[in-house]
Assembly symmetry: C2
Homo-oligomer: 286 residues x 2
């Protein structure tokens, strides 16, 4: 199965490496706006060669779109314009409503399966790609009814082979939930990084005094603006609600601090400790 | 050197295990308000035996206080009341101004060296203790001039042997900086956990959709309320300032989202990416 990977960063690159490791693909053709990235992906053994979008799509049985969500709808439209009956086209974007809406009436909509494999790191680019990124993770397929059933089946076989668990939901539902469990975490981390950078003028103190707790909560603040700014824009409505709720809770906490309501803080923290159960559930699932 | 460990949780227990591993102590005597904890610490090989506070202090050359900061000043006063000339008393609390103020005029103040080894995990209790927790970490000694020079010297030898780097600052300075680089991270994580638990009523979605990013930012939300509520109370002033700054930045971000100012978000994230440099610095230091 000749495979075209559009976008040769962490997400597309790791996916290609896994397909190759598991012998799930034939030739892998890369496409990237940035020729340096494309060459690097070839050097790293992620793709066999690279070419233009149109060329790649014409030769591929499987087209994987792994590009920032602001470019996704236009590029997906171009890909679907070129698609024939048997071609499977999947994307890997972190927002789903917008892209699904934009291709809703495309005559080749049935070739497209809207995917979100929940995997990633704070790093980006082809050098960040690694085999095994997807193993044991969850993949979400959105608006399944708008895809041809055999294309969904092929997609499931692919993700099953990668040892991923696939679940189904509507693209609107996806965007609402993912705002809370992924996008909000990134904003909390970006804002924490900003607060500390702005206020700790003497950086030596950050170096010396920050422990593993700070490192862990601020890790996501290393994430790429090219990827995340468009995600926040596209999921603005859900995210505004989630972020508003987060700010309200922080403000309640600030009030408890200001009024020295230590017993209330204790109760609050005790309740949040229930997150242990949730995180154990994530581990069991992943 | 007979050693008394007051408080047999993660912090005191791990310290005892390291002292034993490195043959830095003779007999280790434990003290804990909770007898189950004390027995468990004995079973785990953290202490040789346990007894009352007064008994332990009377027999020890080194007294290590590793208890929540709300109990610390009173217990430290009791310990200093019993201390003789040669005894070294150290604490390991995460706030330093309050405890230093409370024993400032104690006749045996010079026996006491105020320490904050920056190490820990989100777990607590004697079962969470492990040897190696402190290796390569930073220790802060506060208000050094109020301690006898030979007691500071003994303390440094101890932390050097644990392969820790010690830095010095005033207790007020300590509390101001630590609010930003440690206490604020914990609040951001507690509040994130609370937001997601409250709003994602269908927990199945959290299990399925949360990835490693959520896990990382919310890890600290598992931390013990007994330890953290008193820390927040004691560092209320600095923390209120830090949390206020954090809420302001989140509110700015919400405004960018609401007004779809994607270019501004992109710039914001790009600037915060500078945290990479800081985090690399932490790695180099630790």
């Amino acid at each position: 199965m000749t495979t075209a990977i559009i976008g040769l960063g962490l997400i597309g690159g790791s996916f290609a490496l896994d397909l190759r490791r598991l012998n799930l693909c034939g030739e892998v053709i890369g496409v990237d706006l940035d020729e340096d990235n494309a060459q690097r992906a070839m050097v790293l053994g992620i793709v066999d060669r690279y070419t233009s979008l149109a060329n790649a799509v014409q030769q591929a049985d499987l087209v994987v779109l792994a590009i920032p969500v602001n470019y996704l709808p236009d590029v997906l439209n171009q890909v679907l314009n070129l698609a024939d009956n048997n071609q499977l086209v999947i994307d890997m974007g972190s927002t789903k409503s917008n892209v699904c809406k934009r291709v809703k009436d495309h005559p080749n909509r049935k070739n497209f399966v809207a995917c979100h494999p929940i995997a990633g790191t704070e790093n980006s680019g082809p050098d960040a790609a690694f085999s095994g990124l997807y193993t044991g993770k969850v993949n979400i397929i959105c608006d399944r009814d708008l895809s041809a059933e055999d294309q969904v089946k092929k997609t499931l076989q692919l993700f099953d082979a990668l040892e991923m668990k696939t679940i189904f939901m509507s693209s609107n539902e996806h965007d609402k939930h993912i705002a809370y469990v992924s996008h909000l975490s990134h904003i909390s981390s970006f804002a924490l990084g900003k607060t500390v950078l702005e206020l700790e003028e003497n950086e030596k103190n950050i170096f010396n005094m920050a422990g593993s707790g700070f490192e862990s909560t601020v890790r996501l603040a290393k994430s790429s603006p090219d990827m995340w700014a468009p995600i926040f824009e596209q999921n603005a409505e859900n995210l505004s609600e989630a972020l508003g709720a987060y700010i309200d809770i922080l403000s309640q906490f600030k009030q408890m601090i200001d009024q020295r309501e230590t017993a209330d803080m204790h109760r609050f923290i005790g309740e949040v400790n229930d997150i242990k159960r949730v995180l154990n559930g994530i581990k069991l699932n992943n």
